[in-house]
Symmetry: C2
């Protein structure tokens, strides 16, 4: 095929695609906050949530971030938000990974306290975006009641968006979300002996 005929074919294909895109945009007529779940085993769930934080901050939106699991090592996004975005409400469970504490009672109490902060944000219409980072593990370990979490997400202010991250997440949680992405691990540097990288992995 000549470059000229390829250019013509391209133009026709793109006209068709534009018509499809325009029709889809036209059909999407409901304007409200969305609930997004980023799950799966692969890399990119929490980083995606923090990318959305950057997006929201671009529009000067009000943002709250609740981190349900946090290792002892500081993460770059956490340092960034603390140093440059004092307007972002940042709540951390602060007990470290559950395999570090090895104390179910202590973890449960910390989870419940952190969830109380999340509930406060989810019922406050001033917040445009609420991130519940690593929340799914709290459900997997039965530290929180799934029904409480689902109801709080369902009953949040209509204009508020919420992003939940973490592996797993049961069917009731998936049902209440508008968008669910499952991040599949095709390969991971760590499994090839490469250390977690500052600015990429933490």
């Amino acid at each position: 095929m000549s470059e000229q005929s390829r250019a013509r074919k391209h133009k026709r294909a793109m006209q068709k695609q534009k018509a499809n895109v325009d029709a889809a945009i036209e059909a999407a007529s409901t304007d409200r906050g969305v609930a997004v779940l980023l799950t799966g085993e692969g890399k990119g769930k929490s980083s995606s949530a923090f990318g959305m934080v950057m997006r929201a901050l671009g529009y000067d939106q009000t943002v709250g971030v609740v981190q349900f699991i946090k290792g002892e090592q500081l993460s770059g996004e956490e340092i960034y938000l603390r140093d440059h975005c004092p307007q972002v409400e940042l709540v951390q469970m602060g007990t470290g990974f559950t395999w570090d504490t090895q104390d179910r009672e202590k973890d449960m109490a910390a989870a419940r306290n952190t969830w109380a902060a999340a509930q406060r944000l989810l019922s406050d219409e001033r917040y445009d975006l609420v991130v519940l980072d690593e929340l799914t593990y709290m459900l997997a370990f039965d530290y929180l009641e799934e029904q409480d979490v689902v109801l709080a997400i369902a009953r949040r202010p209509a204009a508020q968006s919420v992003v939940v991250t973490g592996r797993g997440g049961g069917s009731a949680l998936r049902d209440v979300m508008d968008t669910v992405s499952e991040v599949k691990e095709i390969k991971h540097a760590f499994k090839q002996g490469i250390r977690a990288r500052r600015g990429v992995d933490y």
Copy 2:
């Protein structure tokens, strides 16, 4: 099972998990920049790349972002970087979506110009993190040579990390990456008639 025996069982399981985590950390001994590909149909690829930008900025790293496709609508992350992070090198192809331009020749010239900027960043060791947002489409449309892209990524400075986003991405590109995540769409708000949301989708 009583809460007490459950707590004991939890402690044993977590001790085992901690040993596994520690062993994996010990085994990962190579310290260098990583190449990450975020692909698949689901939501969360570009936002994940921008979350890594936030991470890198938390450590005051030097960051370059090259956006190969960009609609006419401004996005939050772009506004944020322009307004708050002038130290980030931001390069945009600036032609809009290829189904908007419908002009293969013009798109190809723009892609080649933008790739020249990407090559500059990929050969500059001052950059800790380089994001090549939506690069895969340039390969899918044959706007860029796959071999050029693969070589530039392979030959970048050893300490530099690179993040590539976009659907698809051929096997040669996947081979050169250390980490590949495929974001699977389980569901998407847009397909239920909900409009793309500011601060979440753009």
